[in-house]
Amino acid sequence: MNLEKLGGTTVGKQILRTTAIYFFVMIVILLLVLFPRTPEHATEEVLHRDGSTYTRDILVISTYSIEKHWQSIKSFFEQVIETKSLGTTRYNVSVESEIVSSMKNSLMTIVAALLLSFFLGIAKGFFDFKMQRKKLSIFGHWTTWIFQSIPDFFIILFVQLMLIRYFPITRFFGREGWDAFVLPALLIAIFPTMYIARITMAALSGQVGQLYIQVARAKGMSEKIILYKHIFRNCIGTILTHLAPLMVYVLSNLLMVEYFMYYPGAALRLYQAIDYDPQFGTGMLYEPGLILGITFCFMILILVVQLISLVARAYFEPRMGGNEG
């Protein structure tokens, strides 16, 4: 009873702390996104071909001052309060509807990739662990390793080439239906799967030689039960701590996959809203409301995953003092 209470308060404290951190991060992102970007007139001396110089007007955004920054934050919030909206996008739609539609497109992929990489990763970790002692260990952690070293854009390019050349029936640029999210989810899951596999493998290897395993062996339990029940029970807490980084990896791969597949999801829309286009420079189509909205949604996603991992750890890991005591 006492232990339960103790466990409860520590979990509660951790949840509070995590939320406070996310609040802090959101403020920093707000400051960065609302960095003053309004262009100003300036003059530039241009050298003519015949050697003479003339001045011409150009637009520059390079000067920074705290007042301008403050002004930009103030005007953004004034506009938000006045119109009760985050603004309109470049397509003349309200920012909220665009956030909802792009998040809806991405959410399925994100959740699928997260679940896939978590469970496949654990399975791969077990596989690597068991392979370790056999002669075929080269197929174990070495494959994990090589897959982890392949840049995501390389894998996407390769899959794209293969599908377009040899399986033209697959819709690589699919927008709806099952192939619109299965292929991106698979592509996104590759790197995070290998990440979890390495974590699982390291956690399992860390338990080798512990006293409780020897006791279980002495009692005549089968190796299977020892591995899947006893050792795994002790590792799951460590693996669960990596759930939030896993989500971060999923989101960062999401950008690459959506960029290559031109999938109208949240990560691609976020990148577009930053408006980094080498053709025009940056600034003209910059959409601060959209950036803030999508980053906020991403943070909520990561926060939810982190809270799930905290609660799950309290439940599974006996040492954290969950309901197991």
Binding site: F24, P151, F153, Y271, Y276, D277, T295, M299
Partner: protein, 304 residues
Amino acid sequence: MKKNITLWIGLFMLSALLIFTFLGPYMPFVDRALTKETHRFTGIPGKMLQLPPFPPSEKNPLGTDDKGVDNLSKLIMGAKESIFIVFVVVAVRYLLAVPLGLLAHKKKGMSHAIISSLHQLFSVFPTIISAVILLSLPAFLNTSNRFLWSIVLIALIEVGRVAYIVQQQTHKISHEAYVDAGRALGLSSSRIIRKYYIPALLPEIVTNFCVDIGKVMLLVGQLGVLNIFLKHSLGFDWDSGRYGFINESSNWFALLSEHRWDIYFERFAFIFFPALAIMYVILTFNVLGEGLRQHFNRKMHNYL
């Protein structure tokens, strides 16, 4: 002592990479000036005049780009700069992070606050998105020192994480019994640092340094794919007829962004090679890092 195969493979791959990087430009088949070949006459009747991009041939093993520049030469000439950029980013990151981590080993004070806020700030968000947001800030977009700034910014993204690792490790060491014993014996602090802290910290730092080279390589590659250059200038590009940021260097990341458009015309031929080169570097340093980790672990076991 069993042979450390991983370390040997890593060293072999590293030396191959270094040979490719530093001796490659002096090979006879490499066109160091990267000359543009606007047209070519072939002896084949019916196809007398050939315009770039030229297909792979004996003269251009990987073909040429649409300005007639040999792709293999571009790849080899870009190697030095690509590796240099990544190495400098990681070096700056460790130069900032290691002292910070050491200063904060008591887990309090100014440096601890800096580390934990940096660590929290960038660990809850994908590094690629943080990098895009930071590198597109107007203050860094139009300055003449963009290259320097972008290196510092990319380094800064994970300073918190590295410093946190160093801090944790140092904290752990300072609570070990043998360090207390050394203090009780009255050893000078310089000797404690030299003989106790550095041998225990160095393996971790060196292996993490190798792994980080791979991570930064991936990040800068992703930025290249997204058309964000570390070094660019505003101007008019006569070849494509557009006004905007023009890439100024020929590193692999720029090659990635330049050839990414090829895939929309089903020209996958060249884009793989810069990606493959990036993958090779990441793999090399990952293998090397793992090999070093095994090496140091064994050394520790030999002492015990």
